[in-house]
Amino acid sequence: MDQVMSICCYCGCGCGLYLQVEQGRVVGVMPSHNHPVSQGNLCVKGWHLHEFIHDPRRLTQPLIRRNGTLLPASWDEALDFTAQSLLAIKEQYGPDRIGVLASAKCTNEENYLLQKFTRAVLGTNNIDHCARL
C-alpha cells in the first residue's frame, strides 16, 4: 500500500495526512503525527475523506446541452464549443458581460491560472469566489 502525502480538502485548518492507495484506489486516510496542525489527529470528515473520491456519481466525461438535455461529448467538442461561445459573447457584448467564479476548493496554481485567463484572455476583472459565504 502506498502512503501519499496530502492535505485535507475540507476546512481551513489544512491538516496534513497520508492517503492510503491500493491498486489505484484511495482506501483510507492516516493523519500525520508531525504536521503542525493535525498532530496525529483528524476530525470525522478527515477520517472519511476517501469515501467521496470513488463515488459512482462522479462526472467522468464532458457534457453538452443538446435540445435541453445534458449529453456526453468529447473534450474537443466541449472545449471548442465553450471557446467559441465565450469569444462570441465577448465580441458581441464586451468582456465585462462575462463573469467567472474561482474556487476555494481548487489549488493555488489553478486559481492563479483562472484569474489570469479571466483578466488576460476574457479581458475582465469579473472574478470572485465564495470567500464571503
Partner: protein, 541 residues
C-alpha cells in the same frame, strides 16, 4: 477580510494555529469551533487545560460556550455595542496600552470620543449582556500578557460585518494584543483553500498578492509579464454576478464557474436561479453534477484533490503541497489542464509543463509568495507567507515591529440594527451555520456513507420553551417561512439557543436554507447577512 485589511493592512490570521495553545486568554466569537474547526478547538482545549481563561461571545450555547469562563450570550447582531461596552470599561479602568496606541496606531482620538459617549446601561439593553459580565470580560482580556481573539463567520456574515471585524481589531490594538507571538486577531477560514483563492487574486479588485487592479504600476508589471493590456475597472463581486445586479446593460451574458455551487450556497436562491437561467452561456467544472452544474450548457468533469499536484494555503497562511495519489476517473481532467486548453483555443497560449512551473510565475509576480517554490514545499508541511524569496523561512505571526499598513488604524463603529428585525408575522430570528459531519453544500461530504449515517436529515433547532408554546413535538416536520420563501426541516429541541432564536445548517439540498436568507449585505466586504433573518415556523401536518 476588508475589516482586517483596513485596520492592520492584511486580511489573514495574524498567528499560527499552534500559538493558541500558549495563550493566557482566548476571546472566541461567532465560531462553533468544536464542529467547524475541530483542530483549532483542540488547541483551545489545550490552552484551557494549561490555565488559560476562555471568553466566548455567541448567541448560542455552543460546546465552547459551555467550557467558557465567561459566556457573553449576546442578542444576534449586537457585537458592536458589546465591544464598545468592553472598550469603555477598559478606558474607565485605565487598562489601555498607551505606549502601543501612541507608537503603533492612528485615529485613536475619534474612538476615545465615541467610547466616552457609550452608556453601559444602554449596551446592556441592546445586547442582553449584564454590565458585570462585560466588565469582567474586558478586565480579563486586557490584563493578561498574551490575549488572542479568534472569530469566524458569526462575526462577518452580517450587514455590519466589516465594522464588526474592525471593532475586534480595535479591542486588540487598544490593549496592545497584536504583533507578538500568542497575541493577535485570527479569522478562521472555512475552506481548505479560501485563503489561497484570495491570495491568488480570485477577487474582483486585486491581482495575486492583493496588488490592486486600480494601481497603474501593478497593472504595468502584469501587462509586461502576460503580454496583454489589463482592464483597470474593478470587476463585479460574487453576489452582483449571481444576483444579476446593475442595469440591464451590465448584466452578465456568460459565466464560467469552477468548483462552486451558488445554487445552494448563495442567498435568495430564486434570484440566483433566475440569473443563471438568463445567461446565454454557462460552463461549470465540478466533480459532481451539482445543482449549479445541472443548469449549465457545458459541464467539464474535474479532478479531485487526490488526483492532481499543487498547493493549498490554510487559515494560518501555510502554503502546503498536495501530491497526486491516483488518476482521475474516466475522462475527468484537472482544472489547470482545462483552463490551459480553453485559453489556447481562444488564441492565448498558456503552456506550463507542471504546476511547479505555474508556481514559479506566481513567485515572480507575487511578493508575499516570492519564495514559495515547489521544491521548498515538497516532503515537508509548507511555509507561511509572507515569504519574500528563496532564503526566507516564512512568517509564523504577522505585524512584528510594524503593521502591514504602517500604523494600525482604529475604525470606531456604532450599532447597526439587523436588516430584518422580527415582528409579529415573522417572530423568530434564524441563524445558519455548519454541522460537525457535513461541509458547505454537501457536494462531497454527503457522498460519504459514514457521514450520512451519522447525520442525514436537515434539522431546525428550537428552544423547548418556544416549541412547547407552539405545541410542536420534538422530531416533527416543520415548515420555516421567511418573506422570501420556505423550506422544511425536522424539529430538534435545543437548550443551547436563547428562546426566540432558531438554528439550522445549510448542507442539505432538500432543505435549501438560502431560499430563506436575505441578500442584504455589508457595504464594503459584500458579505451577506446569512446569520440573521426573520422567520415563522409551522408544524407540517
Amino acid at each position: 477580510m476588508a475589516g482586517l485589511a483596513t485596520t492592520f493592512g492584511s486580511g489573514a490570521m495574524t498567528n499560527s494555529i499552534n500559538e493558541l495553545s500558549s495563550a493566557q486568554v482566548i476571546l472566541l466569537s461567532g465560531s462553533n469551533t468544536t464542529e467547524a474547526h475541530p483542530q483549532v478547538a483542540r488547541r483551545i482545549y489545550d490552552a484551557v487545560d494549561q490555565g488559560a481563561r476562555l471568553i466566548v461571545i455567541d448567541p448560542r450555547q455552543t460546546a465552547m460556550a459551555s467550557l467558557a469562563h465567561i459566556h457573553l450570550q449576546l442578542r444576534p447582531g449586537t457585537d458592536i455595542p458589546l465591544l464598545n461596552g468592553m472598550m469603555r470599561c477598559i478606558l474607565d479602568e485605565n487598562l489601555v496600552d498607551e505606549l502601543f496606541v501612541e507608537m503603533r496606531t492612528e485615529n485613536y482620538i475619534p474612538l476615545r470620543d465615541l467610547l466616552l459617549t457609550i452608556d453601559l446601561n444602554e449596551v446592556t439593553a441592546t445586547t442582553g449582556v449584564s454590565i458585570k459580565d462585560i466588565a469582567r470580560a474586558a478586565r480579563i482580556y486586557a490584563r493578561a500578557q498574551r490575549s488572542v481573539i479568534c472569530y469566524c463567520l458569526g462575526v462577518t456574515q452580517h450587514i455590519c460585518g466589516t465594522a464588526n471585524v474592525q471593532s475586534y481589531a480595535g479591542l486588540a490594538m487598544l490593549t496592545g494584543h497584536v504583533e507578538r507571538e500568542f497575541t493577535g486577531v485570527d479569522p478562521l477560514r472555512g475552506q481548505n483553500n479560501v485563503q489561497g483563492a484570495c491570495d491568488m487574486g480570485g477577487l474582483p479588485a486585486v491581482l495575486p498578492g492583493y496588488q490592486m487592479v486600480a494601481d497603474p504600476v501593478v497593472r504595468d508589471k502584469f501587462d509586461r509579464a502576460w503580454g496583454v493590456c489589463l482592464s483597470d475597472k474593478p470587476g463585479q463581486t460574487l453576489l452582483d454576478m449571481t444576483h444579476g445586479a446593475g442595469s440591464p446593460g451590465d448584466k452578465l451574458r456568460a459565466m464560467y464557474i469552477m468548483g462552486e455551487n451558488p445554487m445552494l450556497s448563495d442567498p435568495v436562491l430564486d434570484q440566483v436561479e433566475a440569473t443563471l437561467d438568463s445567461l446565454d452561456f454557462l460552463v461549470v467544472a465540478d466533480l459532481f453534477l451539482t445543482e449549479t452544474a445541472a443548469r449549465a450548457d457545458v459541464v467539464f468533469p474535474a479532478a479531485s484533490f487526490a488526483e492532481k499536484n499543487g498547493t493549498v494555503t490554510n487559515s494560518e497562511r501555510r502554503v502546503q503541497y498536495m501530491n497526486k495519489a491516483i488518476d482521475p476517473p474516466g475522462a475527468a481532467r484537472d482544472d489547470g489542464w482545462i483552463i490551459m486548453e480553453l485559453s489556447r483555443r481562444m488564441g492565448y497560449a498558456m503552456e506550463y509543463e507542471s504546476s511547479a512551473e505555474i508556481m514559479e510565475e506566481i513567485c515572480l509576480l507575487t511578493p508575499i509568495y516570492g519564495g514559495m517554490y515547489h521544491d521548498r514545499l515538497i516532503d515537508n508541511w509548507g511555509l507561511q507567507w509572507p515569504c519574500s524569496d528563496r532564503a526566507h523561512p516564512g512568517t509564523p505571526f504577522l505585524h512584528k515591529f510594524s503593521f502591514a499598513r504602517g500604523r494600525g488604524r482604529f475604525q470606531p463603529a456604532s450599532h447597526v440594527p439587523p436588516a430584518e428585525p422580527v415582528d409579529s408575522a415573522f417572530p423568530f430570528l434564524l441563524i445558519t451555520g455548519r454541522s460537525y459531519h457535513h461541509y458547505h453544500t454537501g457536494t462531497m461530504s454527503r457522498c460519504c456513507p459514514t457521514l450520512n449515517r451519522e447525520h442525514d436529515k436537515p434539522f431546525l433547532d428550537m428552544h423547548p420553551d418556544d416549541a412547547t408554546r407552539l405545541n410542536i413535538p420534538d422530531g416533527s416536520r416543520v415548515q420555516v417561512t421567511s418573506r422570501r420563501g420556505s423550506c422544511k426541516f425536522f424539529l430538534r429541541y435545543c437548550q443551547s439557543l436563547a428562546p426566540g432564536d432558531l438554528y439550522c445548517d445549510f448542507h442539505f439540498h432538500e432543505a435549501p436554507v438560502n431560499v430563506l436568507t436575505l441578500s442584504a449585505r455589508d457595504p464594503e466586504a459584500h458579505c451577506p447577512e446569512f446569520k440573521l433573518c426573520a422567520v415563522r415556523v409551522e408544524e407540517v401536518i
